[in-house]
């Protein structure tokens, strides 16, 4: 027994001394990564993972080119023009789903299936990261967009029961109560957050299968579920703050912190915001699945791929390999406020909300995101426009017709 241990130890040391550094030593040069993580916690999370990478590959000079601006829309434009110019960065941030599919179909990315272990990633996640059996990008984290955030003090004061809030009708009744008490029931923000809300509402109205079907064309937008979603959207917007179009998502979340509003439906990056404002999870704020979406988990996945034209492909492969490891994901995600895209996380590193999300991720139906690159981008953009107009002129039939035309226009 002792002998075996010694042998194993020798092998391990040998690997560490000879094998790994030898392989690592081969990777040198500059590695340019384009991402859109600029704000507080996001920047720190990336710095942490960059530090890990640099300790593994000390010969590589990591250059992070961050591009600020609403959920990466600016960064994406920048990136696409660079790709068109034949000058892509060595690796870049991309949302898993149709967004990365666009790059795959355009022949921008190369397969990296050999760099990750398919057993530790959920199939639904790998499906969003790849195409026809090959994987083209490594998911670094998972955010949950369909989360309802609740100001605990106010719901306690109003006597609203939290566990059933994910039921749409219960939620509407709670909104009514909050409104009567003089609060803004639902804090809402600018255009993209309205589209984000619509994603949750569609999922709630159609269920996970119907919702998925919308994006591959198997369920048409003329489906009665879409009618129901639009009706529900109309109801919800009626409970929102009238100045929503002037507010960024964090300003909307701030309405909860300020005690002006009771609920907010936002991705779980809002949790990081609440904590930064000194709120404690479970004490000052609580959460639930967005109304109607219990049992489903919308996937907002940030991933990194390797372009075929990357200047330093070796370093880029080393980078995506690093972020696929659980060590890297456990460094990154507790700071970012998201959960690992794979199994094997050390739960002691995560806070009470993230553990909830992790468990939910493991057990729920996983579906793509409307507002975060999960579905065809041009279609998501058009839906954003249509919903934005619908908020002003709640013509259900008209909006549904427009949605259907947009889907056909997008080739579904």
């Amino acid at each position: 027994m002792k002998r075996i241990t010694t042998i194993l130890l020798c092998i391990a040391v040998g690997l560490a001394v000879l094998g790994v550094p030898a392989a690592v030593g081969a990777v040198t040069g500059k590695l340019e990564i384009v991402h859109w993580w600029t704000a507080g916690g996001e920047g720190e999370a990336l710095d942490a993972i960059a530090a890990l990478f640099e300790s593994l590959y000390p010969e590589v000079e990591l250059i992070g080119a961050s591009v600020a601006g609403g959920a990466g829309t600016v960064a994406k434009g920048v990136l696409q023009t660079r790709i068109l110019a034949g000058n892509p960065p060595d690796s870049f941030q991309v949302h898993a789903g149709m967004e990365v599919r666009g790059h795959i179909l355009a022949g921008v990315l190369e397969p990296i299936t050999d760099l990750l272990d398919p057993a530790v990633f959920p199939k639904a996640v790998l499906d969003l990261c790849g195409y026809e059996g090959e994987v083209y990008c490594v998911p670094i984290n998972v955010h949950r967009p369909n989360t309802l955030w609740v100001n605990k003090e106010i719901v306690d004061e109003l006597g609203i029961a939290i566990p059933t809030l994910s039921d749409f009708d219960v939620f509407v009744a709670a909104c009514e109560k909050a409104k009567a008490a003089g609060y803004v029931p639902l804090a809402l923000g600018e255009a993209w957050t309205v589209n984000h809300l619509f994603g949750s509402v569609l999922l709630g109205a159609l269920g996970p299968d119907g919702y998925r079907g919308l994006w591959d064309g198997s369920v048409p937008f003329t489906d009665p579920g879409v009618t129901l979603a639009l009706e529900r959207m109309k109801t919800l917007v009626g409970y929102a703050n009238v100045d929503h179009a002037a507010l960024s998502w964090d300003a909307a979340a701030q309405m909860l912190v300020d005690g002006k509003a009771v609920f907010n439906i936002m991705g779980d990056w809002a949790e990081g915001y609440f904590k930064a404002k000194g709120w404690e999870p479970g004490v000052d704020f609580v959460w639930a699945s967005a109304p109607g979406t219990r049992g489903s988990f919308i996937l907002c996945i940030d991933a990194f791929g390797v372009p075929k034209d990357a200047a330093n492909k070796e370093a880029a492969r080393a980078w995506v390999k690093t972020i696929a490891s659980i060590e890297a994901q456990d460094i990154f995600n507790p700071v970012k406020g998201s959960v690992p895209s794979r199994s094997g996380a050390d739960k002691s590193l995560y806070d009470v909300y993230l553990i909830w999300s992790m468990n939910d991720f493991a057990t729920s139906e996983l579906v793509p995101s409307l507002a975060h690159g999960g579905v065809l981008e041009a279609l998501a953009g058009d839906i954003g426009d249509i919903i934005n107009i619908f908020v002003t002129k709640p013509d259900v039939a008209g909006a549904q017709g427009s949605l259907n035309r947009a889907a056909i226009d997008a080739g579904l």
């Binding site: 703050n241 100045d243 041009a378 953009g381």
Partner: protein, 310 residues
């Protein structure tokens, strides 16, 4: 001598030819390319990368004009924005010019204050105006609403650029954007009118005054008719600016609340550079070009004719 002339002619043509060539390519060549693009199917990233044109006729234009949820309202917004903006700039410009034309002590300081916004970038002023017109919610007013409420003018509180009220196709949310644009550019009409007023021979005005005309009558009877051509050309310059307005809206409101302040330039930018529908974006750009041409080409022709007469 004749040889000399030919040589001179060649030199002069040679001197302007770089410019002619540059404008030929960068303006007319590129416009031609954009027109071609607008008839193509380059509406996805993959097709763009492949770089092959497929002609689809007018389908981009038809989609925009007849099936698009956004573009028709952009055109309405442009129409109302232009009308209000021109009205604002002309009225305010004339009033300011008349005030300054009195030649009171210190006028030059006021003139500089009225004109300074013209030196400032739209994206700078857009930032400030966004902050001013953000309305807050009724219990917690912000910006100008807060100011009104402090001054006891609560009746004036309004939702400004997040308003969803509309009179027919006219979105009231445009009003704050019009105010910001008028603030920025009314100095232009003021400067034009002031130059015009100073060019009016004083005998004309004195003669009218001797005839017993009131200040008002002097304005309408003498000054205004003389200013009219100046105001018209100011309106053309400002009108074409308003048709292509982008920076201010982009930085102040974005396409904003429920697309109530969306304009073609903004939609073109998003369509082309964010959604990568180059062909659709090109069609928007060409529609904008046609609108601008309608007011600029006659203006250029008449300017040149007037010059030729001189």
């Amino acid at each position: 001598m004749i040889k000399e002339r030919t040589k001179e002619k060649l030199i002069s043509i040679g001197l302007v030819s770089p410019t002619v060539l540059a404008i030929g390519i960068f303006v007319y060549g590129f416009i031609g390319w954009t027109i071609k693009l607008s008839f193509s199917d380059w509406n996805t990233f993959a097709k763009l990368l492949k770089g092959k044109f497929k002609f689809v006729g007018l389908s981009n234009y038809i989609k925009l004009l007849f099936q698009d949820p956004r573009f028709p309202s952009d055109l309405w917004n442009t129409l109302f924005f232009t009308i209000l903006f021109l009205l604002g700039c002309v009225t305010l410009g004339i009033i300011l010019a008349l005030l300054l034309d009195r030649g009171l002590k210190g006028s030059i300081i006021f003139q500089n204050i009225y004109l300074f916004p013209m030196a400032v970038a739209f994206v700078v002023t857009g930032t400030a105006w966004r902050w001013i017109f953000a309305p807050g919610i009724s219990a917690y007013p912000q910006g100008i609403n807060l100011l009104f409420s402090k001054l006891g003018l609560d009746a004036l509180r309004w939702r400004w650029f997040v308003s969803i009220e509309h009179i027919g196709p006219f979105n009231l949310a445009l009003i704050p954007v019009v105010i910001a644009a008028t603030w920025q550019l009314s100095g232009y009409t003021m400067a034009m009118c002031l130059a015009g007023l100073r060019g009016i021979p004083s005998q004309l005005i004195e003669a009218a005054q001797v005839d017993g005309a009131s200040g008002w009558q002097v304005f309408w009877g003498v000054k205004f008719p003389l200013l009219r051509p100046i105001i018209l050309s100011a309106m053309i310059i400002l009108g074409h600016i308003s048709l292509k307005i982008f920076d201010l809206v982009f930085s102040m409101t974005g396409s904003g609340p429920n697309l109530a302040v969306d304009v073609p330039a903004l939609y073109m930018f998003e369509t082309t550079f964010e959604r990568l529908r180059y062909a659709r974006g090109a069609a928007i750009a060409i529609i904008m070009l046609i609108m601008v041409s309608f007011i600029i080409i006659p203006y250029l022709i008449s300017s040149m004719k007037r010059e030729a007469k001189k």
